[in-house]
Point group: C3
Chain length 139, copies 3
């Protein structure tokens, strides 16, 4: 991972073999980013994406181990328990032009990932909602 | 729906059972937002999405009544007839990791929806293009 | 194509029959934009999208010649060899609500395309990585 800052925006190049969520966490820790918006495109060769089951309160995961274009991982950086908290969703296109999508549990870069993080000045924390089983933005 | 403003950006949490387009309209009316960009991720359990038919000048709607991750609703806030006008497209991932997508006609939150609205300073109005049957940005 | 500038953001309406990547290049040349982020929604009736093959170092292209909603073309403007360099990925929804996605090689507007370009103050160049066969951001 390499990155540069332009005003309130970081441009991040995540490299072959690096995991996207972990790389983004590292950026946030290095740069003390606790609030922001994330957009990216790129390619992955290994991803675990999930669709939530509100009854079981867990994600149905799908693991895809082939080269795919990342059409859109979008999401946010907020804070939970004093640490940066990453929440990304993605749509992925495989070689047969099939599309996979959902909540990003894990995503490894297959060639390059070009990411923009727009930092916001402020703080939003997450708190677990016991009814839903997920961590909500608290205002 | 709850929200907070950070500089030119609103972060909006839209809650279980609330409709996304209506919630966004309400935000724009409350906060007098007439121009901006919208990004969000979240989950829905009921959505009507359409693909336009330029010959018939209407949308082919698809109604999906199951729990899905919202991979990307993106769009804009502009103005038409003096009111905020919302235009969103989305890609949705269902439990079988199938993907649905198109123009958002209706979308109800299935767990939470985390939205960013970046407000722009200015005004862009829409006007109906009779040839296309849709409301275009006018400059 | 018509556009207007609001602060660091351009709103661009790309019109029926115009090609999206070429239009965006023209905007960048007219306005001397060499660094920025791109988001858009719209419709296309002809698109060539690709999924990269790292072994062959070329894209598997898919050509789709039907009316589709553009759920998300996202990407970046950087510079290469002194010229603006456009990199876009997209997810497209067809009338059967099938989804196509990948790297945008060509995309013609089918009704309208509503694009936001957020300009960043700085410069990022691309350089070919011979191992990967693609042009990477250099920092």
């Amino acid at each position: 991972m390499k990155y540069r800052q332009f005003g309130n925006t970081y441009m991040i190049r995540i490299d072959l073999g690096e995991e996207i969520v972990e790389s983004l966490k590292k950026l946030c820790e290095n740069e003390h980013i606790f609030l922001g918006r994330v957009e990216a495109i790129g390619a992955t060769d290994y991803a675990v994406i999930g669709v939530y089951d509100p009854a079981k309160k867990e994600y149905y995961p799908e693991t895809v181990s082939e080269f795919m274009e990342i059409a859109s991982p979008n999401g946010s950086i907020t804070a939970m328990d004093g640490k940066p908290y990453i929440h990304l969703h993605a749509a992925l296109a495989d070689r047969r032009h099939g599309i996979h999508g959902g909540h990003v549990l894990e995503m490894r870069v297959g060639a390059t990932c070009e990411m923009f993080v727009t930092v916001l000045d402020g703080e939003v924390n997450r708190q677990k909602d016991e009814g839903l089983g997920i961590n909500l933005w608290t205002f």
